[in-house]
């Protein structure tokens, strides 16, 4: 979560006072605290798609949901980059398609993403999504220059109808190794790095219109541990899953901690100097100013409230 810096905690005069040069009496105090919403959050989304022979329908289905995924990112106002690689380590983690890094300004973005998501079905099982993702992120061969940005969070989306069979890249415990990689990605810029998994149900697997899927145990664990989305690949319609993953890719700050408890009803909230009379609450437990909808990027947020001087 981005912690927007509070630029100012400013106890100002909204005070009944008398000053004669000797005595000052204060009955109430008005405090203004100021915050700045984070800039447009950047997120780099890496799709890691199973490219074995059983994945044709799933790839097509996910491609059909590409428009919804993009729309969900656009709705959040995110500054995103999207890349797609396969779970075949023979691809060296290279982002596939042309262009291989998709941005909001790309013409035909949804179509390009759908095309890139169709990574093919010519790979031989087993597939190794965690290894492939690690290769894509470390990019030892320089295929993916520019994909990972230092000021962007990370969302890795695994799509497979089988479980991960990594090892050559990440070692004997690929789940722990990949989670450590996510932690490193996150600690590098203070942003989040999470995974999502669209896989066979855990623990029993599942059967859908496109066939049977084995439980995606490893992918689901990485996703759950990192705070990402876990969804069933047996779902007939991936649009809602794609939208949920898109929504889960944002790091917007909704809650802004206050330094004192306001007198009930005394708070006034300004966003970019405009008085906002609804859409927020004062959470006494924090205390904190909590918005229902995140203020826009770089917004100047001011809250003025009264508190007892005693």
């Amino acid at each position: 979560m981005i912690l927007a810096p509070a630029l100012l905690w400013l106890p100002l005069g909204c005070i009944d006072y008398f000053v004669d040069g000797k005595n000052t009496t204060i009955s109430t105090q008005t405090v203004t605290e100021t915050f700045t919403q984070a800039p447009v959050p950047g997120v780099d989304v890496l799709f890691v798609i199973d490219s074995t022979g059983s994945m044709a329908e799933e790839q097509a289905g996910f491609g059909a949901a590409a428009g919804g995924f993009v729309a969900s990112l656009d709705a959040l106002g995110l500054d995103y980059q999207i890349g797609v690689t396969s779970m075949d380590v023979a691809d060296e983690g290279a982002l596939l398609g042309v262009p291989w890094i998709l941005t909001p300004d790309d013409e035909g973005l949804a179509a390009d993403l759908a095309k890139n998501l169709a990574v093919g079905t010519g790979s031989t099982p087993p597939s190794a999504g965690l290894d492939a993702a690690a290769l894509a992120l470390t990019d030892p061969l320089g295929f993916n220059i520019g994909f990972r940005r230092p000021d962007a969070s990370l969302q890795v989306v695994f799509v497979s109808d089988a479980d991960d069979d990594s090892g050559p890249v990440l070692g004997a415990d690929p789940v722990s190794a990949f989670e450590a990689m996510l932690s490193t990605e996150a600690s590098g810029n203070g942003l989040t790095a999470r995974a999502s998994a669209v896989v066979g149900d855990v623990p029993g697997g599942c059967t859908g219109t496109s066939g049977t899927a084995l439980p995606g145990t490893r992918y689901a664990k990485v996703a759950a541990d990192s705070g990402g989305t876990v969804a069933s690949i047996c779902a007939g319609d991936f649009s809602s899953i794609a939208a949920a993953i898109g929504a889960g890719s944002a790091d917007w700050q909704l809650s802004f901690p206050l330094q004192a408890d306001p007198i009930a009803g005394s708070a006034k909230v300004y966003v970019n100097t405009v008085l906002v009379e609804s859409g927020w609450v004062i959470d006494d437990a924090g205390p904190a100013l909590v918005f229902q909808t995140a203020p826009p990027p770089d917004a100047l947020i001011s809250v003025t409230y009264q508190l007892s001087a005693g």
Partner: protein, 577 residues
Amino acid sequence: MSALLLASVLAAHAATLLSGTDFEADDGGCVAGGETAQWAWGAVTGGSGSAFDGSKAWALNLAGGYLNDATDTLSCPAVDVTGAVRPVIQFEEWYDLDVGDYGSLEIGDGTTWSPVAAVYTGPETTFTGSSGGWRAASVDLTGWTGPVALRWVMAADVSGVGGGWFVDDLTYWDGDPVAPAILALTSLGDTDAVDVAREVDATVRDDVALQSVTLRYALDSADPVDVPMSHASGDGYTAEIPGEGPGTTVTWEVLATDGTNVTTSSPQTFRYFLEAPTNLRLDEPRAIGPTVPLTWDPPTTPHVVDGYQVSEGGVVVARSTRTGAQVPVTGGDDVFTVAAVYGEGAGDASEPLTVTASIPAVNGLTPAEGWPGDHLHVALTGVSLLMVEGAVTATLGDGVSVGVSVRDVDNAVLDVQIADAAAPGARDLVLTTSVGNTTVAGAFTVLDGTDRPQLVAADLTVRQGEKARLAIGYVGTMATTSPTVALGDGIVVDAVSVGAGTLQVDVTVAGDAALGDRTVTVDDGVRVFGGVTLTVKNSTTQGTGHTCSTAPGDAGVGLGILAAVLAFRRRGHSSKR
């Protein structure tokens, strides 16, 4: 079929037909016999798949296959060949016999039978394996007089079954209906021995006597040339195809005639060539134009390579004396080949390489112009630029400083500051990224004149500890209704209202705000307006009243006192009084 060959074929059948049947109207009077009498006549449904002509024939099994552990015969009625000078029986057959199963032919008077070898297949009288399709078989009856009949004998062992044995178009002739047989023939593959003649050897036999054997060859699409083949020894004949240059395709065949019948071998084709380079590939992880580096492996050849040429669509796009070249790409699918250039000529093209390249391009700058003294935030958009924060530079010429803040691989914001003395005119943008330099001619213009949007000088004064409303004039257009107004430490902007030519700015001045003049800047996201100063003066020190944070007005006092009342410090927050 050539007219000459057609005439020859007709001549072959000009031998006198004594008797014959195509087995379409009836079974020809033939009779199945033997242990199971499995020979049958009718429409062919399996095995050969069809009769030789028409739909009907005789077969061990019309659906294909045959019975194991059985010996069966097919006997056809005798034909009287008395008076014939050279009686010959011909028929068409298709067979596929399993190992251990044998077929054979017998002739006789209908009662007594003797094994006989077909023409060109003797002296063995039995056969197995496959005929390789429908083919003509002949039995020479020279010396036979009186009625003569033919019998097919099939002896199958206890296991394994082939596709069967099918017989069609049985004829009796007087004369020479049998064409010569080409029993062996040279096979010529492609060769890099350019300009070297190729020898063709053929083993040819005729059941009576050969008249001539001819090598016929054609170069590319030219008319064919006939060369008489010399008799070597036995049934051997030989001739040469003269050597040709690289890239020449030669199509050839052998024709043998006994004066009545002609046999032509299946046409063969080979090429004279010089080896192509191999492993044509892109020499970088990504194909990023406008040119891309291709490399290849040199050909394995005894010939001297003088150089290489890379082609696209038959057009040479690059030449090189090494195994690599920089080639132009279009941004679509470019299909390249590379060929070695030898002293003898151009070699073969390599396997094609399809390159789908991205072409870096700057779509434009927004805004694309500014005045001397301007400080602008210029949006740069493009495609395939692969911009990486910290690894991108941009220049707009003398007098213009440019900083780059990367948003994503294709988008950045340029912090452009134009010196007061910058020369007006169009400027080229040179963008340097991980994919190289991208130059856009005339991408930005330094305007000529004094119309630079800026703040209008005025008497802007505030006092310590007061809340005030400032009216700041400006000329030009404000790109947003909520510009960022910066007044320096100790002065907080509470609200900004954009009016025509004037900004109303509500501020709160800290009690300890530094006294004196300070610079005022207004950033509307596109341009940083400047040019005026704000003066902070001493606070009022005595009086009574009421002041409130939402009602700017005269100075309140006691703000500093609150710092003593409130002493909140939490992580991530700073405080000012």
